[in-house]
Amino acid sequence: MGMVAKSTLMKWHYITGLILVVVVGIHLAFRWPSYEASIEWAGPHGVYEQLMNTGYMAAIFILLYAATYHAMNGLRTLLLELHQGRYWNVAVDVVIIIVGVFIVIVGTVALVGALSVI
């Protein structure tokens, strides 16, 4: 990712980190008051109700994208620190982009699929 300044990557790393605190907080808040009830399909706090909540679903989409970026950039940094080499750096970038795009596609398809059920 030589074409992007490292500071740009890190700026987004910190921004997504802060976003994650908020959206993971929202995600956890929806397990309240009963975790069991929150993972049931029906019911007052169940999955159906969560899917119907636009704000919550927006947070979940943001969670998917922010977590993917944050995790992939963190993994890239870690791998580049563990080992060095011209081919290694290119291989890490390629693998990180492929895995990241794959997670985003699978996650988006899963969430859109869930929304299409309701």
Binding site: A5, K6, S7, M10, K11, Y14, L80, N89
Partner: protein
Amino acid sequence: MSSAKADIKIEIKRRVFTFRVKRYDPKTNGYKWSEYKVEVTNRQTVLDALLKIKATQDATLAVRYSCRMGTCGSCAMVINGTPRLACETKPFELGTDVITVEPLSNLKPIKDLVTDMDDFFEKHKSVDPWLIRKDEKEQFEKLDTYYPQTEEQLLNYLEFSYCIKCGACYAACPMVFLNKNYLGPQALAAAYRWSADNRDEGYVLRLKVIDSDNGVWSCHYSGTCSKVCPKGVDPALAINLLKKSLLTGKPPAR
């Protein structure tokens, strides 16, 4: 007055210390430990002791030194596990009877305690550690207003200009150990020192190096560089000030 003068006495204590020296042998490409017992006084340094060993016990012991007064940075080595200047470290002040001496870590050894500083200086050079002006001719034309600077502007970078390039911070850095391409604390502190100088206009040029995978972002702020610096420079602070500049998009305070 004369009686007061007579009262002044320099107390000389003597003690025998055991020096365990980790020596690199370029022929075998391996290390071995040598032990020497040597008497030193409370006024002498580890460098004095090593030179005494060299003069009286083992002439093959290789040590690099020059000024003997903490200015040149040539005699940096790992003493009792910490990178220090041998000429500024007194055996009496270390608090141990056995003193271990090793070559600086994170640098290729040449012989015994002497390390190859080429990589270190190449990294230093890569940040363009000198005054960069857009107009190179002006220094010959406007001599009456030659790069003015207030005391406040000087204080923005003064601490970082005290670096003597001894390599102690570089040897103490766990990230240099992990990533040999990482510029390291010395080069990055030098980059800050020049970028924070109001007379300099080279900050943008240095970005290519400092804002890279092996630049400031490889620092995880262990702080060991600042802890071992014999001159009281705080490279970790310089690195974090550079990070701040990169994140805010503003050049260092000048």
